[in-house]
Symmetry: C2
Subunit: 874 residues, 2 copies
């Protein structure tokens, strides 16, 4: 039988995975000689066993728990259920990662009809003893037995009413005894058996309840939001109770060793005299700032300062402590690395280097890359936010805060913005035609689509706040309103979106602008010094490219040329091209696009100042450029000078059952090589033009959706022929390269062949994930909800590179690609290029660069540095 | 410089890949001492170089050609362009695989104004010489210079008219001289330069023309139909001319060493005296049966008999010979293994074993497995077929011949069939609702969809003839007619389909029934003795299962349970299940399906006589069970007792952008585990029932579309719990297993994990191909046409397992799956299970069985035997 239960004195910091953060730290603090109420931890492995055994604690684990209990009784010299010196414990969850408030806690466990007498004797305070007992019964019944608290609250309130009193504290010991009796009667009535009097039985039931709480809906949600695997499980800490509510020499509080809002180096926190932890949290009494403890009890304050400083130095990180003072004696209940704002994280990391507490590399590892987002986007004013009502929640698709008037079409959004209004664009889902409306909007809300839907991807690229896939929102695009949970919002009504949390507010909420401090620049400069991966950006226009350049992008890793095709005059030429019946007609339409496309590239090259620019050739299925609405089709037919039937026939012909797996990417170029030829002209002519002005652009031409060497070869031949002719005619020297996106599983499987023609690979992990999993990102949202609920997935499979499956394909492609072209340039340009965990993976498999949306560039820089510090590249 | 040109005397049989079949055999026959007009072969590698060099023959190859020419001149003792003893040659293509009629031939090359004089002298026949010259000018201009023949025919006919004669043979030598002059003038007029007089220039131009013809549209088409890679290229054979048209002691003919129609052992063929090969083929004069040669020229006949017998013994296969007799001297122009009917193939193989010419294993290798198809399906009467007009061609989706009246809906097809009509069901594309109509139809024609479309897959399963994806056919399903190339066909009009060739005939064509001979049974028994792979069938009903059992299936590898859900009373319960709002409602609807589903399985188990039966749980997206038409929705809503809006909302909710990558397979079971529970009840209860009657069924439960271990685990837990409860309650012993389809790329990538729960893997290579390539089989047809035209693909990527890409995934899954479960059962149940090339691959990677549609079972048995003979399994 393995060991499932550990006394605090057997534990230490390194046992976090086994004992959870709380348990490991209680062990560590015990060995540091700090005043810790003793106890033991039931391991996370016991939790896993509990679930494997069909939600039962097996007899061996129970035995180990009772042995640890007996040991602890000896240490604290108290006895479970004793009527003179009873041993009471708290039972609390403690997972590997901190999950504040997500799981359950039971205090005062061990009380029964005997022990309560003992507690009264021991504390010489009968009222306190019975108050503790009634609290315990309520908490145990609620958390362990799933009896609604209101059953007990009614009895309690009835007693107060009967006695004509208002404050709980006015109840006497006798009143509380009556209440306890009434509670026990109620309990029996509801459960059919008496309230358990055996403290050991209470303990096992409580441990089971904590294990069970690992899988409650709010824990599931928290895990998914924070990428915590279900498999980790939670540990359970059984700790002897100390009481902060034993009179005026007792108290309880929480404190941070530095200010978690701004990072200033000063003890920060609050405490309450004569109170238990729950009182501080519940907010019934207003706690005092921790600084006042110095006046109230200078000795304890001094001791606390020493301990907190010792812990910060020991853990080399800002600590978040819970403490209790029991009759003048200080106890530390837990310590953990404190949560902090991005601003504080930067300041603390930098200060600690200056203080000599951390090296630069260590400081880099202390800042969570994804936190940087909040520094770059507007946020809500916290005060205003506290008052605002959440009407629904969607996916936190693109961070930031936005407030504005609702618009339901891109056209209306543009008009309203032109009138000086702040606008929130609300759509069932967006399509490329909505780009302009998205660009002028403060935020975008969609009812359908996931984290990599069109709305999400484009909004992130623009740095625009977006809440996507808000399933409760029902959009009526014809009558211009949406409803959510029975409420109706019309065009012009105010709503607000929090793209960082996914919350939707039905009103105007004040926002505050983003501010970037000097600390940010300093940390970024350190990060750049320590990373091996290059960081590029995905950008299709001057604005995004310049923004990304400011954020430190070292080139463009993905320019989606189709985004350039939707603007007014262009879309017409694109549509002429689509309805063309001959190559000549098609070339005529393409000739109209050439000068515009060339100008686009000139602007991008200039924004990137000579850094590499990767241009992906036309990718989406052509039907995306055509209208679907009958009236729009009639208008367009007129415009194009063809009949409705003709145009409609073209649209029907382009219809696909599964457009995701249809006629797009390189497949378009194979049918219409003249498109690739036009794009090549634009790429090369633009490069020649800017290089004349002194830049040294080396364009990278990227062919999408290749799954077979010959596809690439066919197009590359035409690209090279076109490019070389232009270069020769211009009489200049110009280098360029031709590569491919690796986004089809078969491309990974045949990478050795493809690398014979491809001068670079850029992983398109969105599509690779879609095809590798067989999940359409437009559709999967609906059934993935069941996957989360049933713990089949812990998280959105599109959120991070799936290392076990899709990552294996990537690794094959990297290894095989290098076999035929050892110096092949390897990048990633899917959404994952800005996800810290995926960036680490890309570093580890040896990519050359990652490319991400402009606002994620700093995140990627930091993540790349962390990856290289953890696993330095030779 | 490599060697690109080989004299016949340098070549032999083993050089087929390099020199093509014709070249290698001419070499072999030369070394056997047979009378072969000498010459040389330009290799297939030269063809590859020709294309790589931008369709030019490089100087080195040209030099080698001229050297070989000089050598040959020495051997035959003639001179190119000589005015007394000119050397003339034929220039013919010859690829690795025989491609009769697909590429071009040029005869009499070497004639010019000088050589024609020489030829006249040499043959003492001026008329013959000029007739040869005018033929050469026409053929060279047509084949090499792309000048339409009609230009010359007009001149020729004008001369005849001017002379008032009818027969070509009435033209005199002088007339022909005039004609030659006029031809040369015409040539210069069209080409701007004189007809090439340099025989060496003629030769190089001709060789280039043959290389060019490798990529002409009819060669492309032939290659695709016969799986011949573009990369192989063709060789060119330059052979000295011999003339069968030099008078009555000359002649030409073709012969088979056995009868290619029925396999009888007797020389079979025909010949013509005083004629060239083209006359035999053109059919202007009626040739005599070869047997008459014995009377006409017993010595030559005897010599020919000896040679043909020698060649058959040498090649150990039936030979197809071309010969020419020049002034009493016999020459063999080529030999090759003869094409033959399936019936002949069987007889020849078996006879040759009896004759001691072949071993059993060798005989097995001589029969093309895919040929067996024609033995099992009705065929057209060849005479009737010769007269019928082809109105269009689609994909040869399911073999056989069918004739009947057109019906446009499954309902009408059923009604018409009930009235005793033979019916052809014509649809834009079929859906599962059409099953009944397909079952009663003689044949199915669809305008859309590929080789693995619904229509194709289901028709093959039923053994029903099907032509799919006939793009020229425009179906008007509302007004009940279709048009094709301007012609209109209404309900009730007769059409005929050839599912083996894809041809569509606009009339009734007489069919003849399939006949299976004793030879078939004998060869199959040999095949069974020599194979290692088991062969199962894909079948969903008693009829198909019994059919497959007769054809030798050793179990069912795939029962698609959804096919059982479309019948009248069932579809209603299925729909009730879909619109159910609660688990209870859903279970109520499922309870109605249970007895029917149980009965289905009883029938299948019984049909399979205790052989294993693999049952795949519900797979398709639920929207496939709901109507799309407004009126049908109204009707159904009434039927289900809900409002139109409610039903419509459900339908809209089920709509998916990419249903292929949507909510189906195991994903359905995760959302609605009660479906899997009901199916488990049916599977297990049915097995208990039939086992009571003495069978020993071990059901195999197959979960589709698994991509992650936990998906399978979640469902397996419920399946096992349900099954074990039923078995326990019944008080019986029953074994069963639970496995999964491997059809998602990620399943292959994580096979080691999945095998921890899966007791068997069955590769679903249709979906694996779709996702691995990123090709939707419903949509790819449209753009794949361009892929064939541009030689990016040689063949439909769904036709055979793609060994370089998808096959690599399969191999990973096999190896990794065995790591965690060494005795895992491995099968394939995609369409590829009946494709000989894919069967060989499955054998080579170590699968346990293949499963295919009933009519492909014999094909798979033979292919499995061939695979094991070539690469014996230890």
């Amino acid at each position: 039988m393995s060991k499932f239960v550990y006394l605090f004195k057997e534990a230490n910091q390194s046992m976090r995975n086994l004992l959870g953060g709380k348990g490991a730290n209680l062990g560590e603090m015990t060995s540091l000689g700090l005043p810790i109420p003793q106890g033991f931890t039931v391991s996370t492995e016991a939790c896993t066993r509990y679930y494997e055994d069909g939600k039962k604690i097996n007899k061996d684990i129970e035995k180990q728990i009772f042995e640890a209990l007996a040991e602890t009784e000896k240490i604290v010299n108290k006895k479970f259920g004793d009527n003179s010196n009873p041993f009471l414990v708290s039972v609390r969850s403690g997972a590997r990662a901190s999950m504040p408030g997500m799981m359950d806690t039971i205090l005062n466990l061990g009380l029964n009809d005997e022990a309560v007498v003992g507690l009264a004797k021991q504390t010489d305070n009968e009222r306190f003893a019975y108050d503790s007992y009634r609290r315990f019964i309520t908490m145990f019944s609620d958390v362990v037995m799933e009896i609604n608290k209101s059953n007990f609250e009614k009895i309690f309130d009835a007693k107060k009413e009967a006695k004509g009193i208002e404050l709980d504290t006015d109840l006497t010991a006798e009143d509380l005894k009556d209440i306890v009796e009434a509670f026990k009667v109620k309990y029996k009535e509801l459960k059919g058996q008496p309230f358990p009097q055996d403290p050991k039985e209470q303990l096992i039931l409580a441990v089971e309840a904590v294990f069970r709480s690992w899988d409650n809906p709010r824990a599931q949600y928290y895990r998914r939001m924070n990428n915590i695997p279900y498999e980790w499980g939670t540990a359970v800490n059984v700790q002897s109770m100390v009481f902060g509510n034993m009179g005026d020499t007792s108290g309880t509080g929480v404190a941070f060793t530095r200010n978690p809002s701004n990072g200033e180096k000063a003890l920060y926190g609050e405490y309450l005299f004569n109170a238990q932890g729950e009182d501080v949290v519940a907010g019934i009494r207003t706690p005092k700032p921790i600084s006042e403890l110095e006046k109230d009890n200078p000795a304890i304050y001094k001791q606390f300062l020493e301990i907190s400083s010792k812990l910060e130095n020991h853990y080399r990180d800002m600590q978040d402590l819970e403490f209790t003072i029991e009759r003048g004696e200080l106890f530390i209940l837990q310590t953990r690395n404190g949560k902090r704002t991005a601003q504080a994280a930067l300041k603390i990391a930098i200060d600690m280097v200056e203080e000599g507490l951390l090296t630069e590399k260590e400081a880099i590892l202390k800042v969570e890359p994804s936190q940087l987002d909040t520094l770059l986007h507007p946020q809500f004013d916290p005060e205003a936010l506290a008052k605002a009502e959440v009407i629904s929640t969607g996916l936190n698709a693109s961070p930031g805060a936005a407030t504005g008037k609702v618009a339901f079409t891109a056209e209306r959004a543009t008009e309203m913005a032109a009138n000086g209004d702040q606008v929130i664009l609300v759509r069932e889902e967006t399509s490329p035609e909505d780009i302009e409306g998205m660009a002028v909007a403060q935020g975008v809300l969609t009812a359908r689509g996931g984290m990599t839907s069109h709305a999400a991807v484009v909004a992130r690229g623009m740095g625009t706040c977006c809440v996507a896939g808000a399933h409760e929102v029902r959009v009526n695009e014809e009558e211009l309103f949406f409803t959510v949970n029975g409420k109706k919002y019309k065009e012009g009504d105010y709503i607000s979106l929090d793209g960082t949390t996914g919350k939707i507010y039905g009103e105007k909420v004040k926002t505050i602008e983003a501010t970037v401090s000097g600390d940010f620049a300093k940390l970024m400069s350190w990060a750049d010094k320590h990373r091996a991966l290059k960081v590029r950006t995905n950008a299709d226009n001057k604005r995004d490219a310049s923004q990304a350049y400011e954020f430190g992008a070292e080139g463009i890793g993905l320019c989606r040329t189709e985004h350039m095709f939707f603007e007014g005059t262009r879309i017409k030429a694109v549509r002429e091209m689509i309805v063309a019946k001959t190559v000549e007609e098609r070339e005529k339409a393409l000739a109209k696009l050439l000068p515009m496309q060339r100008q686009d590239f000139i602007e991008l090259y200039e924004a990137m100042q000579g850094h590499p620019v990767t241009i992906r050739y036309l990718d989406p299925p052509l039907h995306e450029f055509l209208p679907t609405d009958k009236e729009d089709i009639i208008d367009l037919a007129k415009d194009l000078g063809i009949t409705f039937d003709e145009l409609n026939a073209t649209i029907n012909e382009l219809h696909e059952t599964n457009p995701m797996l249809g006629h797009r990417g390189v497949r378009l170029s194979i049918t219409y090589p003249e498109i690739a030829v036009m794009q090549t002209r634009a790429v090369i002519e633009a490069a020649i033009e800017v290089n004349k002005k002194g830049l040294n652009v080396v364009p990278e031409i990227m062919i999408p959706l290749v799954g077979e060497l010959k596809e690439l070869k066919y197009i590359k031949e035409r690209v090279v022929k076109t490019a070389d002719e232009i270069i020769k005619a211009a009489g200049v020297e110009l280098k360029y390269s031709v590569g491919t996106m690796i986004e089809i599983p078969r491309a990974c499987l045949t990478a050795e062949e493809i690398a014979k023609e491809a001068e670079f690979f850029s992983f398109g992990t969105n599509d690779l994930t879609q095809m590798g999993f067989g999940f359409s990102r437009d559709d999967a949202g609906k059934f993935l909800a069941d996957y989360y609920k049933k713990n089949i997935f812990n998280e959105d499979p599109f959120a991070h590179v799936d290392q076990r499956g899709i990552g294996r394909l990537m690794q094959m492609a990297v290894e095989d690609g290098r076999k035929s072209r050892p110096d092949i340039k390897l990048g990633i340009c899917g959404e994952h290029g800005g996800d810290p965990r995926s960036v680490e993976f890309c570093h580890n498999i040896g990519l050359t660069y990652v490319s991400c949306s402009p606002f994620r560039v700093p995140i990627a820089r930091l993540a790349a540095a962390q990856a290289n510090i953890k696993n330095p590249r030779k």
